[in-house]
Symmetry: C2
DNA sequence: ATTCACAGATGATTTAAATCATTTTGAATA
DNA sequence: TATTCAAAATGATTTAAATCATCTGTGAAT
């Protein structure tokens, strides 16, 4: 696989691109390492040492936290331009695993290099800061939702959250398996099945193999309207 | 109330202090506005416009998100040196309210000024970035906990979380009322009462008026040991 | 001192969701 | 086309937690 150079990189959402700084381009280009990951491959392992920052060039990734009895919680889904692997001050380990949901390309920049980049480009540091800030807001919203929503509402919320990753064409088709969706909603697969069947009965969505097609997004929005979330 | 100057500020944890830069001190000193808040006073209101960043000089604050039927979720507790009011790109509104748990002093810096400070002090931007990153990690851990812990475990987890704010003397005394603690744990006050009574019966804690004294921290840790959280 | 108000505790009941168990479905393979 | 297999759906049961209701103790106001 040939490495993509930062100058000719097509990723519009990458924080490096957003900064639009020639010096930064060439510096990151020197230190970054772009890797290809197949579907369902681990990008980072929970418990491993934090060595740097991952910039998602292309692909979808689930960020999961493992719990008791093999249970896992999907804490976040990421797409092109997102970051994984919060930098640590030193010697820290990842509190989460990151696993690709599809074939992906990801750029890695080690701790020291990214620190240098931050110090020479306050704009970059600012952008990444804002990214974390936004994710923190989302995460805190999710805390409230998990504590207060019913199973049905959790499913609808998760569908509308996951949908953002699959906005390619006009038909909204979410390709995510039951287990991952249940782990995202924080419920079990049986409950998920029941809710999906119910929504299918109401013609809000259809359930062909390996995908979920949303027909009536507005009705989904109505279900969780009282929580007034902006997707 | 006399304004504290940044040079003579005693706050060891303030991000401005951590940067240890004379130019930054005088700049922030010019633009900041220090205010005194009485116990149970709102610092920011959910839904209001984001105008800047709040640096907690002294005091404890609960960050809450309001839900259905007057239910509220405490998403985070903050103390000296922490930040509230994640900056928005523009025109954004607070997704949360921040309310003091005790008399507090808080410094406010408007959006434009803090942006200038970030651009001239990448170190500051980096520190704040790391702060958000850390909070995001905590928040994501809480997502998992809310989804997987039992009511008892949630209470214990919340006690150990809240405890950090009250580490003054050798006896661990948490001054927080039942409603706030229940909102933090994501449960109702009745369940909270039951669990606290049980823990009291087991001599793990005692419950004098307006406080919770932890006698056996290790036993609390044991209860949630399977989740291996580091407090 | 007496009432009032409220935080907290506890008991009884209901309800939602998890779990356990079984069946269905559809794709891949022989 | 039959067979296998795993994912998904559905049914039955159990369980945990929410809700509703009542009671208790403490401090403030009259």
């Amino acid at each position: 696989m040939k490495e993509v150079s930062c100058d000719s990189c097509i990723s519009k959402n990458c924080f490096i691109q957003v900064c639009n700084d020639e010096k930064l381009f060439s510096f990151i280009n020197e230190v970054k390492r772009t890797s290809f990951y197949r579907k369902k491959q681990h990008v980072v392992y929970e418990g491993e040492q934090v060595l740097g920052l991952y910039f998602i060039l292309k692909g979808k990734i689930k960020v999961v936290s493992s719990g008791l009895f093999g249970k896992t919680q999907v804490v976040r889904l990421t797409q092109d331009g997102d970051i994984i692997g919060h930098r640590g001050y030193g010697g820290e380990t990842y509190p989460i695993s990151a696993i690709t949901l599809e074939d992906s390309e990801i750029c890695f920049v080690d701790n020291d290099s990214i620190y240098t980049a931050f110090m020479e480009n306050p704009k970059l540091a600012f952008e990444v800061m804002m990214y974390y800030s936004k994710e923190l807001r989302n995460s805190e919203a999710k805390i409230k939702n998990l504590a207060q929503m019913s199973v049905c509402e959790k499913v609808v919320d998760s569908l509308l959250y996951a949908e953002k990753l699959y906005l390619n064409n006009e038909t909204i088709s979410i390709q995510i398996d039951r287990q991952d969706l249940a782990d995202l909603a924080g419920i079990n697969t049986e409950q998920l099945s029941r809710v999906l069947s119910e929504l299918k009965k109401e013609k809000i969505l259809s359930l062909p193999k390996n995908e979920i097609i949303i027909h009536n997004r507005n009705q989904l929005l109505e279900i969780i309207e009282p929580f007034n979330i902006t997707y």
